[in-house]
């Protein structure tokens, strides 16, 4: 992995071509197993409604579950704490085109990140939009050629290139991972005014660069954890977006969540790749439970299409660290997992890489 970091471009190409090979090299060994159950048929949809690629899942303070899904159109569903369908939020809203993430803030506002419209939108608990970041490309321009000819424009303060996720610090500052076109993390104040960014429109494998930053979470001290998917690592920054740590023994780090409360836990998924490539199920699919300092407490889960297995975990919710929701791309579902105590010795971080 150190070599990979030193030759980022070549490594990125190799990793892209051989994700399975890269991931098996990049995961910690002798990690304790965390036993778990998956609750069967937890989410109960009314007749005529379907989840598509269940791209995002989040819970609010009452335990209601929100799923942001690529159905016939991209839709946002709310279920209660028992999995009973409550409502669809904002049907036909202008920001819904290609779901990517949903998160619920401490005030129970529901934030959605849509990579089809390049927007991050805040719904209040009643389901009305109260803040918009980014801008949907105007339809009046027609269908544009992609990528557009010419050099890639610099990432702008207030527009995004297929953003992926959103998080907040205790002061309400907003952090956005952006994304597939840009490769950066942007900080806004609570009123949506640009503060700072790390990374740029160009992908890279050096520290503080990103290759498809795909998920983001912030702890109670304001530290920012970024699932740096294309670089097979997680990068940790302080509140001012200065690099503190790199965790590179957890596989691909598709997505990240941090549980609330005085003792916070960090979860990250080494999701198996789309397409179920040969051999990939054997070496990917597990989710790691960690201390914030990078110590791995255990892992659970495996690739698979049956209940309890994961077919490309895209996002997780860990409001309760013993009760994890996972949303999957290729199984069109969100599972509720009940974790049991792990036995075994935690794995200390091998790289604390504030370089």
């Amino acid at each position: 992995m150190r070599r990979a970091l030193s030759v980022p471009l070549a490594a990125a190409l190799v990793l892209y071509a051989l994700p399975a090979f890269a991931q098996v090299k990049a995961t910690a060994q002798n990690v304790p197993e965390i036993p778990y159950d998956s609750v069967p048929n937890f989410l109960k949809l009314p007749p005529g409604r379907y989840l598509g690629e269940a791209i995002g899942v989040a819970t609010n303070s009452k335990g209601h579950v929100f799923v942001y899904t690529r159905s016939a159109n991209t839709q946002l569903f709310e279920f209660d704490q028992n999995g009973t369908f409550v409502r669809e939020i904002g049907p036909g809203a202008y920001n819904f085109e290609f779901a990517h993430s949903v998160r619920v803030d401490p005030q129970d506002n529901i934030w959605v990140v849509d990579e089809g419209t390049n927007t991050i939108t805040r719904f209040n608990p009643e389901g009305h939009i109260t803040l918009v970041l980014g801008r949907r490309p105007p339809a009046v321009q027609g269908m544009l050629q992609a990528p557009l000819p010419g050099p890639k424009p610099p990432a702008a303060k207030y527009t995004f290139g297929r953003p992926t996720d959103v998080a907040w610090d205790p002061q309400g500052n907003i952090f956005i991972s952006d994304g597939y076109v840009n490769h950066r993390v942007v900080k806004f104040d609570k009123n949506g005014r640009f503060v700072k960014q790390v990374g740029s429109q160009i992908p890279g494998g050096e520290p503080s660069q990103f290759s498809t930053p795909h998920g983001i979470a912030v702890d109670l001290n304001g530290n920012v954890y970024v699932a740096d998917r294309g670089n097979n690592r997680m990068q940790v920054f302080d509140n001012n977006l200065v690099l503190k740590n790199i965790y590179d023994n957890i596989g691909v780090s598709w997505t990240v969540c941090i549980s609330p409360g005085p003792h916070q836990y960090l979860f990250t998924s080494n999701s198996n790749p789309n397409g179920n490539t040969p051999g990939s199920w054997d070496i990917t699919g597990e989710i790691y439970k960690m201390e914030l300092d990078g110590t791995i407490l255990g892992k659970f889960g495996h690739a698979g299409k049956q209940l309890g297995g994961f077919q490309v975990v895209h996002m997780m919710d860990c409001r309760n660290p013993d009760q994890i929701f996972v949303a999957e791309i290729e199984s069109w579902r969100a599972q509720k997992l009940l974790l049991k105590p792990a036995t075994g010795t935690p794995v200390r971080p091998t790289t604390t890489a504030a370089r």
Binding site: I129, P137, L148, R184
Partner: protein, 400 residues
Amino acid sequence: MKRTIQLAVGVLALAVAPLAAQLVVPELTYDVQIEPLKLPGNLNFGEVAGVATNSKGDVFVYTRTGHPTLSLGTARPFAHGGSRMFRFDKTGKYVGEIGQGSYAMLFAEKVKVDPQDNIWVVDQMSNTIMEFDAEGRLVMLLGRKAESEAVPARGAAPPAAPGGGGAGAGGGGAAAGGRAAGPAPQAGAGGRGGAAPDAEGGGGRGRGGPPGAGGAQDVFSRPTDVAWDAAGNIYVADGLGNNSRIAKFDKNGKFVRSWGQTGTANGQFRQPRSIAIDAQGLVYVADAGNRRIQVFDGDGNYKTRFLNVGTPRAICITSGPRQVMYVSNSNVPEDIDVEGNIYKVDLTGKLLGTFGRAGRIAKEFNAVNQLECRTENEVWAAELGNWRVSKITLRGNATN
């Protein structure tokens, strides 16, 4: 003119510093209601392009929402949907929708209500102006929607990547670099997925005429606004596409004349975005790309211009014996760190006051696309960037 341009560039370079002009303009006291209209639980505004009120105080909102769609299955993709118009009563209660499922609500631009309470809808993408009566029946149509769309878009230019607008280099020390510095305050669109929405229009030739002059007809190119004189003649600002003109029709929709072409001279336009007519029949055109308001008589004869209103993207004139104008020096939706204030101006161009700035919280404005002068102290703003309607109440401001 040269001095003005230099001044404008200098002011923009300062970006967040107070505009020089504002230093001598009184700050007006104002309150804003950001949810004056109560939407049903399952409805949301998208980009709010237009807001207008009728004689009874009913409110009409034209918004870009839903899914702008091209259908597959033929060599000619057809455009559908993308905008809706909602109606509220004077208490802000939702009443219903006008034009649902109609042919040409693709990309909302403006909504206006004429003195007879007819509702006029300007759609920038379908190149149409639809007049509905108070019951919501289509009364008259100007323009025609293109039968199909080209993919990729015809003449789609790569995004103008203006100097600035970037977020600064990555890395630990990146601060807010790259303020928008060019004269057209457009931020680079995020990534390659979107072109700069305000890429300069103009330059097209209407039937062999000079660039942007348009034809002697109601073929529009991204029209932006409509207004009427006392006789009911119709004036259309046209527009953000290949035309840079004002087109005049009689009250029956018959073409009378048009004036203007692409350019910076008096009587020429770059992105005419808004139009208003006073009680004397003078026509005020928000010539946004030239950062000025031009004033004409009803025959298109140039009278004067106002150069002290920033980038005017929305204007309205109050009714009554002593008319005043409100002018929004709107930011673009892609950048809230420049412009965004609203000027109060008398009809000679003297600045009476200013209020507001760009932003996302209450009493800030984000890309105002239309102003509705309900009275001198009650102004409604349609905000593209905040997907909302703001009701502004001005208080205790001495007028002169």
